[in-house]
Subunit: 151 residues, 2 copies
Amino acid sequence: MMSRRFADFTVGRCFVSRSHTIDAAEIVEFARQFDPQAAHLDEQTSGENLLGGLAASGWQTAAISMRLFVETMEVTGGIIGRAVDELRWPVAVRPGDTLRVEIEIIEARLSKSLTGFGIMRYRSLTKNQHDVVVQSFVATALLPATASDMP
Amino acid sequence: MMSRRFADFTVGRCFVSRSHTIDAAEIVEFARQFDPQAAHLDEQTSGENLLGGLAASGWQTAAISMRLFVETMEVTGGIIGRAVDELRWPVAVRPGDTLRVEIEIIEARLSKSLTGFGIMRYRSLTKNQHDVVVQSFVATALLPATASDMP
């Protein structure tokens, strides 16, 4: 675990996570804690809600996607998100959906202001079992790096 | 609860949430589930990490901010986020920090494509007890609305 370095994240490289199947109990538990709205809480009444049935909070999809990202990237010394742009939830995540994350590196450079760190930009797609994108964003993150890591 | 309608969210109106104090156990519990990296997991070793000590996952700050948002806005029929832009975590969230959310409505209009719904854009700032912004974003959300809700 945690065995990849900055030099491994070259522009254009793609990573695919394992899959995670989300169930109704998990959706409701997260919603009780962080997003207590009918659409995320109750299978009985949520047929009448905005999402037409029980669906995960977008922030739960984001949190699960982070888990899959961390496990997949295995960054030595850790990786810290600084900025996320164009975060979208185009399709609802339903109980029983199987999610995976696809990461593409779009930029990798040494930080000018923070010695010993690299800045990486990547596109993150979370897809369901039908290959439909349920979440997308572009992120900027910081990770340990030195000049010797650069190509 | 859940007593505000689309017509209540006029452009320029601001809402301030209650406060939530985050503790170390809460940071570690969220990290174990969703962001298992040293900076978010371990008070002992995380002094050596990217964040210089135990700090909350940005996605935990986002989830807590959603909770405070939902409680504060009390939207009849619920409110569903579709897009988040310019999500930033400029300053680390530490154990003992007291967070609150400030919301400003920046756009409110009826949806052209979805009858019975309004589209609201708002700026969300999460601040700590020193009035320092620890998270910011601009969101676009969908909520029930009809022409009679418009000014």
